[in-house]
Amino acid sequence: MTQPHVRDLLPLWVGGDLPQAHCAEVEAHLASCAACRAEAEALAGARAWLQADPDPPFGAADGEALRRAVLAQLASRPPRRVRPLRSVLFGLAASLGLLGLGWGLLTRRTQPVGAPPEPQAAQVLPETPEPPAPVSPGPRRVALRRTLPAPASGSLARMHFQTEDPNIRIIWLAQAAPAHSNPETTHP
């Protein structure tokens, strides 16, 4: 064993922390090397000073004060809920169930590519605002008569409103929904 290597092991050797396999070699070297012996003594001396450390300055009263302070803090906190096993398993099962339900809903809502959109109530025309009163003297309610346009795929829809005044007819144009309409659906 070379001298530098022994010097590296001395800090562990002085504290009894060197594996037994190396101790004999170190001790054999120390018997013949004054420099390493001096180093070992210096290490042991510093360790002895360290271990002459006084006892910590705490007595029984300090321990009691510490206990009081800690327990007072803990008592002011909400109590720790220690959940029994059954409720933990129940909660876990419920969580998994909810997760599965959410996944099912999510996959159902997601449409595959290329699938036709769901049929819409194309005949349900948007609510039309009340058309302006005809230009005639005096306020008069306008009676409306609506005729449903023939649905044309993707084209404009026309709505005709005939007022009481035979000379005034209102034509309302609206963008028709794509032609996937359900012919059974009628405008109310």
Binding site: G16, A48, L66
Partner: protein, 205 residues
């Protein structure tokens, strides 16, 4: 009763049949029993205060550290594995709290040390108390030059007397790491104190 299940999930567990007061206090404290936690503290507080003081070298800081350590222990008791030794776990929490405080505090100025008094070679003379105090001040200054990990490993090994394996469990590292830290710490302390350290009285422990 679910036989064979314990640990992470709080299965209903019977009280320990063993007479070990600490184990019994731990089991009851895990259920939130503050009185049991008080018993646990009574059995361990001097160790916790002692380690905190040796690491921090400040009485008030050590008390604060011990208080914080116990609060953390209470909060983490349900993660402590029953049947494992309690003291390494306790030391680990205490050491972590102290290292956090050391980092926050940073280096602090040291009072002057009479180096000539330290070099005196009569530890039993009329100035023995002064000599001892000065040497202890020198050692404290030397300890402050260690890294937190080195200081903690050295305190647990050389002052608390824990075996290397227990120091390793306390610090959450491997024993070879602890030996490396101790070796480095002792060498640094020797380098710091060497000009005043006399011949050793006994080399190994």
């Amino acid at each position: 009763m679910l036989a064979g299940m314990e640990g992470v999930l709080m299965a209903e567990e019977p009280l320990a049949a063993s007479g070990d007061a600490l184990d019994d206090a731990i089991r009851r404290a895990r259920r939130g029993d503050l009185e049991a936690f008080g018993e646990l503290m009574a059995l361990t507080e001097q160790r916790v205060l002692g380690v905190a003081w040796r690491l921090l070298r400040d009485r008030e800081m050590a008390r604060d550290a011990a208080q914080e350590a116990y609060l953390r222990m209470f909060g983490a008791l349900d993660r402590f594995r029953l049947g494992e030794p309690f003291h390494p776990w306790m030391y680990r929490i205490t050491a972590n709290v102290c290292m956090d405080l050391l980092r926050k505090r940073g280096p602090r100025p040291e009072a002057g040390i009479d180096l000539e008094a330290i070099a005196g070679d009569d530890p039993h003379g009329p100035d023995a108390a002064v000599l001892l105090a000065q040497r202890q001040a020198l050692v404290r200054r030397g300890l402050e030059r260690l890294t937190p990990a080195e200081r903690t490993a050295l305190v647990l090994r050389d002052l608390e007397g824990l075996p290397t394996e227990e120091v390793a469990r306390s610090l959450g590292v491997r024993p070879v790491t602890v030996r490396s830290q101790i070796s480095s710490a002792r060498a640094k302390l020797r380098a710091f104190c060497a000009p005043w350290a006399g011949p050793a009285k006994g080399g190994t422990s």
